[in-house]
Amino acid sequence: MSVLVFAEISDGKFKKATFEAVSYGRQVADMLGTEVVALAIGNGVNTADLGQYGAQTTIHIASSESFTPDAYALAANAVANEVNASIVIVSNTYTGKSISPRLAQLMGASLATNVVSLPNTTQGFVVKRGVFSGKAFSFVDLQRDKKVISITPNSFELATFDSTGATTSTSVSVGSSGLTITAVNKVTGKIPLTEAEVVVSGGRGMKGPENWHMIEELATALGAATACSKPVSDMEWRPHSEHVGQTGITIKPNLYIAIGISGAIQHLAGVSSSKVIVAINKDPEAPFFKAADYGIVGDAFDILPQLINAAKN
């Protein structure tokens, strides 16, 4: 048996979330006394990078086929059979979320998404996962012999290993998909929100989209992604893809800075797992201050320039 990690490739590179998945896979393999195998499908990557984060073997399928969930899940299942994998680890990204259910179905495996802990194997095989859109966690016993675990980015520390790991090829290839990808539009130079370690977020208190340059300036100075509250995306000041909260994206950065956001329960649900939360609001009674580690009571338009200035130094 082995632990297989689906090593996602984005623009010819592995992402940090992929390295986290590999490190996680290695720790699970060590717990179970087995080996971790990484599966990388795509071109242009340096597979030795995966060894550094714990992969003992990397299987590389050099394919120029675009990612499609149906074709990639079939290929991943064939590789899982080849290496006798009983556990497969994926990242809980959009890509990971699209492949994990198909792969679990093909393998006849139990599937847990949004996972934030290593498995506890003292009784069954229990993982902790985020539920109620960030308002709670559940402990779930995965009862099938085979398991697919989709781990939330930024939930695990990267572990590095001395070995570089061997890269091998396979007879498995990526077959055809029922889908045709006609266009891909990537926002270049921006950090994807779900993977960002620092997030600067604005609410209605920013008064209008014309003031967002201040949010962006602070984000750039901190190497952060930008986000917004639901009213801001509803009023179309910002795209929905930036909306964090219960009906938007749930995020887990190391630092979340909320500017001009009151902190409604639905918004807090999406961000409360952040390691450190800063609330900036002119209303001292704003509920966000109860959920924050640091707070500044004051006008965003006075405070933001001071923060930008300090962040640039």
């Binding site: 984005s10 899940a73 959009y94 009906t247 450190v276 609330a279 405070i303 300090a310």
Partner: protein
């Protein structure tokens, strides 16, 4: 054209989540249940496509009779008929197995991106795999023209456009459409629309929830004077060590 929309019934977004029985049961006392917001988009867009192409929309839900007011709401939005599979689902994989038993013969199957209670987001992909058809998750556009479906979907750091010639399953993301508000005529008509109750057929054990936990509450906010806001950056760098 036959379209199937899969719906789940979830606690209202303002619900304060608590647990009972030594943190093993979700406390349903006083909880208002609603149609899952992403499923509302799936139903709306499904109706728009069915209406434009002379098709029908069927609603399916896996759950007990308490869900019927929410199923009627989906019917009042304009759906033609509904199916309730009478089971207490254990997890999302089980839900997908049940729906797959009745989902043959549809041209398009729609789900929400995820339910806002258990957030699994697996029904779309599981159904696709069970039925042997493509699945497209987190879609922000669905159109039908020249015998083909076309989609935009969110990807990590962007968006992509996809076409699919055959039957497929897609999960709705926020930008897909504005949810349709039922009108009085729709509400009246929904009362007599067919709602078929079927016995569960799947025999699937995947996982079991053993307990729940609430996030650790913050110990208290440390306030920084607005006149010296720049100090925050210093604290984040040297005390919290997060930048």
């Amino acid at each position: 054209m036959k379209i199937l929309a899969c719906i789940s019934v979830v606690p209202d977004t303002t619900t304060k989540i608590t647990f009972t029985d030594n943190n093993t049961q979700f406390n349903t006392a006083g909880v208002q249940y609603i149609l899952n917001p992403y499923d509302e988009l799936a139903v709306t867009r499904g109706l728009e496509i069915a209406e434009a192409n002379g098709g029908t929309l069927t609603i399916v839900h896996v759950g007990k009779a308490e869900a019927e007011p929410v199923i009627r709401k989906a019917l009042s939005m304009g759906a033609n008929e509904a199916i309730r599979i009478d089971a207490e689902p254990t997890d999302a994989q089980y839900v997908a197995e049940e729906i797959a038993k009745i989902a043959l013969g549809y041209d398009l199957i729609l789900t929400g991106r995820e339910s806002i209670d258990y957030n699994s987001g697996v029904v779309c992909g599981m159904l696709g795999s069970l039925l042997g058809i493509p699945s497209i998750n987190v879609v922000t556009r669905i159109d039908f023209a020249d015998g083909k479906f076309s989609f935009d979907r969110d990807i990590d750091g962007g968006r992509e456009s996809i076409t699919c010639a055959g039957p497929c399953v897609a999960s709705a993301q926020k930008d897909l459409c504005e949810p349709r508000i039922p009108n009085m005529r729709g509400i009246m008509a929904a009362r007599t629309k067919p709602l078929q109750v079927l016995a569960p057929q799947a025999n699937a054990n995947f996982s079991q929830c053993t307990s729940y936990e609430l996030p650790v509450a913050k110990s208290g906010v440390k306030l920084i004077d607005a006149q010296e806001a720049g100090k925050l950056i210093d604290i984040l760098r040297n005390e919290a060590k997060v930048i």
